[in-house]
Point group: C2
Chain length 432, copies 2
Amino acid sequence: MTLPARAQEPGTTTTIHTDGGGTVRRTVLPGGLRIITESMPAVRSAAFGIWSAVGSRDEAPADAGASHYLEHVLFKGTRRRTALDISAAIDAVGGDLNAFTAKEYTCYYARVLDTDLPLAIDVVSDMVVDSVNRPEDVEAERGVILEEIHMRDDDPGDLIHDEFAAALYGDTPLGRPILGTEESINALSRDRIHAYYREHYTPPNLVVSAAGGVDHDEVVRLVSRAFEGRLTGDAAPAPPRVDGEPAPVDPRTVVIEKDTEQTHIILGGAGVSRTDERRFALGVLNAALGGGMSSRLFQEIREKRGLAYSVYSYTAQYADSGIFGVYAGCQHAKADEVLTICRDEIARAADEGLTDEELERGKGQLRGAMVLGLEDTGSRMSRIGKSELVYETLLPVDEVLARIDAVTLDDVRAIAQDVLTAPQALTMIGRF
Amino acid sequence: MTLPARAQEPGTTTTIHTDGGGTVRRTVLPGGLRIITESMPAVRSAAFGIWSAVGSRDEAPADAGASHYLEHVLFKGTRRRTALDISAAIDAVGGDLNAFTAKEYTCYYARVLDTDLPLAIDVVSDMVVDSVNRPEDVEAERGVILEEIHMRDDDPGDLIHDEFAAALYGDTPLGRPILGTEESINALSRDRIHAYYREHYTPPNLVVSAAGGVDHDEVVRLVSRAFEGRLTGDAAPAPPRVDGEPAPVDPRTVVIEKDTEQTHIILGGAGVSRTDERRFALGVLNAALGGGMSSRLFQEIREKRGLAYSVYSYTAQYADSGIFGVYAGCQHAKADEVLTICRDEIARAADEGLTDEELERGKGQLRGAMVLGLEDTGSRMSRIGKSELVYETLLPVDEVLARIDAVTLDDVRAIAQDVLTAPQALTMIGRF
């Protein structure tokens, strides 16, 4: 097991492992910045990302939406570049430049041809370390975020996920939407956004990751140059978010009247945390219950009865807790029937677990999806960058595959009895 | 230039070209079935697809939605397999199995590890050549498709594209939605669906394509076995859909009252056909006008004024015609302002064309996106399969890149004056 980054001597590089055709290396720079890369032979593109350890979970109620708002503002300009300079640089080489904000982290990334990697490193690093957050840009972006909220509100299949988080976690950091609310966005000032930036975007709280046709030493050299003047002091990389007591849940039933064509339903409760050893068993259970076309829910609700087009189960993991939920969209008149089938299938899986065949199929599904995903430079960059941020260290792909393989019927039954019998929240959007 | 497939001797194989690291080969089998593969060295996954030359454009008004309905029904079972057998086979190896229906073609595909390619070929081929289309399965799937229509109706950002096609092309094959309507889906009988299948899913109208870690001869052997008994006679592969007179447009303004949070807008008109030599110039124009974050529309509407979260221009190409359109979602009270900016930018581009810098950036954007896309086995499979179906022959990647490079400011000005001054349809969904 590799040591965590904060135990690694600043200014040194370690080879974490070689796996699935790539070599993963990590350098810790003075000031506590981590750089992790995975070189993939014979790949001509590169994905580059900078991960920040801050997300909507870190926001006080008055700051709701600040992490995501800031993510937008970082595209608006640095001391050296306007917003147009930033986007034009990556558009000109046909790359993708984007970012996303989650509850526990934020990521800025670009995917480019390997020959354009120096450009991508320069642009993305500049955005993250040298944003000016001009008041007029913060103001213009407020309108953009309000429209993002309105767009989310116009798509009930999207809105219901935010409503469900609120129904499960209540008015707590995990229960509040990443986008914030119209009120909180209108109330956030430029100074508050800028202070949030200065507070959270520090080298110990950032992880730089790159994957594809990349040379580790070259990435370290380019990132060091882009972060020049900021990599001083003896701060160590920040440890992962504390994995303490699970975030409290307060599962409620929330019915939202809306003039929709379908009733949109999520039924679910607490799952497991990101570090819970049972997450592999829950992954297999999820695959069998609602993770694919051969799953029980898909077969019962869509294949046999034709009640829904979209029906699936899913999991989410956080540092201390998680979600297991089931989504379906159906005719208003069939909502009770669909909900009854969901409840019956959840109860049956909790009582009986899975069959041998489902266990094997579920494992195959997780293994295959993992290995297929590794061909994409963006997926590899995400895997190593996010792991560095949220785990003590990176689990090699072979080790992940071995843990999936090791899941037994008893493991699945145990997690099913725990997760599927926990108190459940229910959210429905439709005409009632 | 390689000969079209129908001029190739049945039972023979030809190497079309070697390009971007892959070798493209084509075999024409007796009965008129084409198999085209691209082997990508050092890639461990494979994408396999079967393309049918039929789409919603081929439907009489009474059959509206039949191509897509049939696509669903083909997942419901063959003489050898139930619906569960089909999905379980691919889920068990962690593959993706899916399909999509377009206006001019339909595609069924799987992406798997290369060692699972024989399984994928067997399953997808079985679905396409030996579907039983049982009445009870057609009946159950009717409900699923109605829910797919309802889900589309619940997302105005999705619905508006179908409404815009109707506003541009009217009640014609290109103007009608791929999904059909509630009425047409309710009226389609099992016998009609089955007849549609027998009529259109014949070897000359199908193209088999595979890309990734694939061996051409092995693919030919496995596909020949899966199509056993059907590859007889001397039919030649079907030629591409006739590229005749452009489909007539009848651009109208359609305003749809709906209780949405945003006003969703599409403004656009006729573009160019798939074989139009000016498509590369239109691609560059599209990139500069609304194709990326550095584009004029994104800069004017989102970056400077903060009026929209989602704003972009796009093109669609068909055998004889195409679309150039602009989408934006904004506050109801700002819809007029957004529409005015769209119209001004369209008029300005028609009058003045692009700057040198925009031309170069637009070309770089198209080139980079194309090359980056080639790392994905699914993209390669689509490129070669779709090209074989809709063009006389496949344009090598280097040739596509050269044509993009050759676009001049005059080419862009000419296409802008043509496309951007054509009569425009306007569709708006919102509260008025």
